[in-house]
Structures are given as C-alpha cells and as structure tokens.
Symmetry: C2
Subunit: 85 residues, 2 copies
C-alpha cells in the first residue's frame, strides 16, 4: 500500500483571485508584509497496490483526470510505502 500526497497549483500565468482576496484580508488584519499569496489544493489518499509502478500509474491518472485541470493547473506528488493496517 502506498500513501500519496498531491499538490495542485494554478500555473504561474493564471491569475489567482482567491489568493488576492485573502491577501486583502491580511492587510486588514495588519499583516502588511504578506505578498504573492497563491492558493492551491493539497490531496492525500492511499493507493492499495503492491508495486510503486502501479501506484504511480493510478496517481497520475487520478491527478490528470480528476484532481487537476491540466489547462490551468500543474500537479506534483510524492509516494511513500506504508504498512497495511
């Protein structure tokens, strides 16, 4: 069994209005040194297969077909083997 951690970020060329909005909130709280906030997704899940190769395959399909929108977003992931419990 493998544990996958995925980070999905908007591509740098794509505006991030949510980040901009949250950052305005920061200024209102008096946090004036916070800049360039960008908000993405962090996804964790387990992949119940025996080889790293299979795990990679499933993770990449999952990311590119469901978790990320490949037109606007990039993804990166880490895979870690864990004991079945």
């Amino acid at each position: 069994m493998y544990k996958a951690k995925v980070i999905v970020k908007r591509k740098l060329s794509i505006l991030d209005p949510q980040g901009t909005a949250v950052e305005k909130g920061a200024v209102n709280l008096g946090l004036k040194n916070i800049k360039h906030t960008r908000i993405g997704k962090f996804i964790e899940f387990s992949v119940d297969v025996n080889s790293k190769e299979e795990a990679k395959n499933e993770v990449e399909k999952y990311c590119s077909k469901l978790l990320a929108n490949p037109i606007m977003e990039d993804f990166e992931y880490t895979l870690e083997e864990v004991d079945e419990t």
Copy 2:
C-alpha cells in the same frame, strides 16, 4: 524575505465530503485502488521581513485568522529564506 508554504487539512475527526465525492469519480474512471481521499488547501506566499521570528509570527497569525478555520482544520507550514528579487 521568506517564502512560506502552508498546508491546511481538516482534522481527522471531521468528515470530508469533497474527498468522498472525488473518490467516487475515481471508481467510475476504473481507479479502484484509491482510498481515503482527503482534500485540503496548499497556500504559498512571501513574507517580506528580515528575521525568521517575525516571519513565523506573521505566518501563524495569517494561518489562524484567515487561511484555516481552527475549529475544523489544522495547519502546518515551512519557511525558507530567499533572496529579494
């Protein structure tokens, strides 16, 4: 200047309906080995201060007052010094 990377996750005791929904999509795509999907946020920003202490302060305020809801979510972060550019 520091670069902060924050991960915000729901506490384990809190259900994650978004994760459950996306995982049903995975099953429909034929990815039957994906389990326990949980979706959180990944936030990147810079903190324009000179000491790590100040940076930590700002990041913790930003996280606990805006980025995470401390009732349902936990956050963790890393801080890395970068050259001003």
